[in-house]
Assembly symmetry: none
Homo-oligomer: 262 residues x 2
Amino acid sequence: MLELTRGEYLLVYNSLSFVVAAMGAGVIFFLVTSRRLPDHHKAPAIISAIICAIAAYHYFRIFGTWEAARIGDSGDYTIDKALLNEGYRYADWLLTVPLLLAELVLVLGLTKDRTRSLMTRLIIAAILMIALGYPGEIASDAGAQTLWGVLSSIPFAYILYVLFVELGKADVAPAAKEKLIGLRYLILGVWGVYPIAYILGHDNPFIDDPATAEVLRQVGYSLADVLAKPLYGLIIVSIAFTLARDEAATAGTAPASETVTA
Amino acid sequence: MLELTRGEYLLVYNSLSFVVAAMGAGVIFFLVTSRRLPDHHKAPAIISAIICAIAAYHYFRIFGTWEAARIGDSGDYTIDKALLNEGYRYADWLLTVPLLLAELVLVLGLTKDRTRSLMTRLIIAAILMIALGYPGEIASDAGAQTLWGVLSSIPFAYILYVLFVELGKADVAPAAKEKLIGLRYLILGVWGVYPIAYILGHDNPFIDDPATAEVLRQVGYSLADVLAKPLYGLIIVSIAFTLARDEAATAGTAPASETVTA
């Protein structure tokens, strides 16, 4: 049982609802925007729309689980942690994290072999990272929490290695290089929030009060998901526009944004 | 507890439902309209559609919270203010106000550097304005209400300064100048309703009866949102059409609205 104040309860409640709205807005934006890109650059925008749709659904469910986990009478803000279903977040990530990495590889327009090799390894690592994190998230024993947390960090480290070392050598069009560098740091910064939120969800040496830790964890995951999905998608799509414009300029035609829908 | 008359209760109830419908209509209108604009003028219409979609979602939720906050038996119109969730409005504004300012900057078609500089400062100011208002809205202490209200007014004043002083000097096409001036006064007039509604939501020297104040506050916010979102979007989109037509005329072709969908 977690005894929250009204303000704490509402902060989580409103954060979850905020994410539903942000993801829904993302779906519309990315679908409409995909139409303005030339066909061979559409994939990242379409994948971003799908990612936001999956997340909107799961946040709608998480919102419901947060309402349902509130027990006691109307003046009381007690959360029964056993009624909170953490599975929604992991089901979401199991679908969305491989897609986030896939769209990153796709937007770069590398050779077919290179794309396939990078994509296979990144997707397997992403699935392992999420699948190994879940048993730790629901474990009640501190040893198991730490063990699964550490195991899940191995594929996470591998993903960072691929993004920073292997992709650093990839033959990316100069026009997109700067945005790609920014994107990698967004991944590093934002994905770093997840392990912190994971640690706060369990007995930890940083925050004594479990109610405060739970509020920070929920708000942290929510904020990180907004940055890691719609904001990340925005940058990916802007890379796609840069590349399309660059190609059009090289081909001696008008800027891509004006010709692609013709 | 607020004792409302049946008429007062229904006035708020119907206002909230009206906004859901107005926003939903806005989504359809702006999506369809975006197709008639040339690609480089589409952004404002698409952003308007997204703003209306976000608001439709939140008003659907606010409507639900208004129904849920009514307690007692069927003949009774008593509202338990503790059950009203003010967070929905703030979650909505946190997403929509930066978008409203972004589309205003985008429609002007300024240089890339100028657009980026204006947009960054306006968006940061908008986020600060909303984030500083929320603690005051949910505070029960009059001192805290005033403090956060005043703090939130500082970025609001900064936004007005940018819109009226900096944008006044911007190099905007003469065809759009007049509408831009009208739009700024719409912002000044409509955004001025929000602080008034904020004051009415708390102990205030203007209206004694807290039930009346709550009704005015809810109806005021709702009306202001309809003016600040779909109506504002209409003016922005008409600026986009004016600019597109102007460009097409300069290029010696038929009016933009008649050629772009070909």
